[in-house]
Symmetry: C2
Subunit: 363 residues, 2 copies
């Protein structure tokens, strides 16, 4: 086998090696099924024994209350930008958004296709370097929800405390935080997350929705496939689900549970991010512009003095098998995404590379 | 490794063994990438070297004209039921449908959420046992399209000749026919297909759309993610695509090309289906109710005299490692789905089982 690198991609991103090895072993012939999971009819006991335990494990590790449904849906978080408003609001209703980055902005823009979308808070004027404090009085009293992006991958920020929304339901995109940090599901009306960061391979979103948050009298124009009720009634199998993706996510959920659950993941991610933030804060060339209390523990962003320095550093990192450290094409700089699948050894190798680069610059 | 069975599932369904073995070999570490395809950022050269050749190979093997776009989209064919009307028609427009089975009916019902959906032909009163002949004069002159389901998996029928639609654009769901039989793309405004039958693992649809068939002034309520233009402009990568599914489909496309292309696939599927239809037609206990000229070469349906006989036959088949021969839950009976991945050896084993069962009944 070729050598594996340390992959700091923001998503799709690194998966636990033992999960990949398990999937490889069973790929051609899943035990007891006589075929690959990729060939398995979703209407069989074999597949029910994959999808239902996966859902149950996710319920356990996220401590999801009984009055919430868990759905496995296609289209990723970007599809949810359109889908959750259709299920929680009528066309033309008031929808509140906090804009804390690129994807939060995309969700806000998508809301305008459905309702009267209002931006109630934004950190754009400070280049999204902090999380605005949101209180109930800032929200529209008739808003169907307040939408936030829990962890902002591009700018490296996160809500470490949820907004106070009073009677306005809270909807959150937790794509890059889910399973990597503790999230109190009961404080949300709806959580969604693309799976390709902390949960599995790309091609699915997990939606966790409080049953009574969904409109009873949904607008007629909403496609059957975009109605949560369609999928709730059919256990996410109204049509053929992305079976292999669900299987892989199930393996990851098991791995999280086996390794101490989400609390243990958060502890590890805090330790990993601290290694990098401590280095950056004591460095003379690396800089992180984020307000300290709002720093993400999943995506550590940092800059160097010049674009030339950035290029040289990225080349050095790649040469050492540390890939995808380049910042998002919209902001430049560097970014290390250190989701659950990234071991401390990878972070330490990156830190070593950063120290060596700084030393080299001083010489 | 455990023994593989012959899997006659209608979808997800059997994949070529050598494709599975290739995927298994490279699962943990894709050559040259240092990581799994499941961990690969879609914004890398490594992934571009997967998605673009996959698309190009599909263009070659289906002989897709240059004025058509090829898209890889999430949500399967069921999502397309809502998506193609939104891209080809304004809300309230007239939409024509031919109803030749369950999924054709689902597409028709979904059309009602968007426009004035009209059923211009149906074979329901004869339990969908034939394909109605459709001519231009049967269509609404202001219809935005006529929608057909090219191959009907549940009832085992197929259009071996396309309807005459004159100036009305033809839209077809070819989920269970694509790559298994010759399809003249140039006669369609749009073709879509869930990939989980003849192309790869579940979790994606391929959409082949004539560029000038798409509305310029699409209705504002249509979500960004459901606009074909969004995905055309970004080479199917507006958001994170289902990377692994695309990779697997690419391996299957290569396999089809290596094995003589779609013409060779159709020849093999005709031979395979002939083995079963010939047996059924000369049998005293097996029956296929479909009008001969409309028989599918992908899904061979058959019944036995009683439910008890059906149960006994299915048990015998399963015992011989021939699985998922049970008919769709809506119609009962038996069904052998013999897509490209099913070798003649599997079909012959099924035929042998059928002959043995009939012999046993006579004794």
């Amino acid at each position: 086998m070729e050598e594996r690198v340390y992959n700091f991609s923001a998503g799709p991103s690194v998966l636990p090696l033992e999960v990949l090895e398990q999937a490889q072993k069973d790929l051609v012939c899943y035990p007891g099924a006589g075929c690959s999971v990729m060939e398995m009819s979703h209407r069989t006991k074999s597949f029910e024994n994959i999808i239902f335990p996966a859902r149950d494990t996710l319920r356990r590790i996220m401590n999801i209350p009984d009055d919430y449904e868990v759905l496995f849906l296609q289209g990723g978080a970007s599809m949810q930008f359109a889908q959750f408003p259709m299920n929680l609001a009528h066309q033309g209703d008031t929808l509140d958004y906090a804009v804390t980055g690129q994807f939060a902005g995309n969700a806000f823009k998508e809301g305008k296709h459905w309702g009267k979308a209002v931006c109630v808070a934004s950190s754009e004027y400070k280049v999204f370097s902090y999380i605005p404090r949101i209180t109930e009085d800032m929200l529209d009293s008739d808003a169907r929800f307040l939408h936030i992006t829990g962890n902002n991958t591009i700018f490296g920020t996160a809500y470490h405390e949820l907004p106070q929304t009073g009677s306005v339901p809270l909807v959150a995109d937790w794509s890059s935080g889910i399973l990597g940090m503790n999230i109190d599901v009961s404080k949300h009306a709806l959580i969604y997350a693309g799976v390709q960061k902390n949960m599995g391979p790309a091609g699915m979103a997990v939606v966790i929705v409080k049953k009574d948050a969904i409109l009873e009298d949904i607008d007629d124009v909403v496609p059957t496939m975009l109605r949560y009720k369609t999928m709730i009634d059919k256990d996410s199998m109204f049509n053929t689900p992305p079976c292999w993706t669900i299987y892989m996510c199930g393996l990851v959920f098991d791995w999280v549970e086996r390794n101490g659950g989400v609390a243990a993941m958060e502890k590890r991610n805090r330790e990993k991010s601290a290694v990098l933030y401590d280095l950056i804060d004591s460095s003379e060339i690396f800089n992180n512009p984020v307000v300290k209390k709002d720093r993400s523990i999943m995506n550590v962003t940092f800059t160097l003095p010049t674009d030339e320095d950035t290029k040289a550093f990225l080349a050095m990192a790649t040469g050492r098998g540390l890939i995808n450290v380049k910042g998002h094409r919209l902001v430049g700089g560097c970014r290390a995404s250190i989701y659950n699948g990234m071991p401390m050894a990878g972070v330490e190798k990156l830190a070593e590379c950063m120290r060596d680069f700084e030393k080299g610059m001083r010489e």
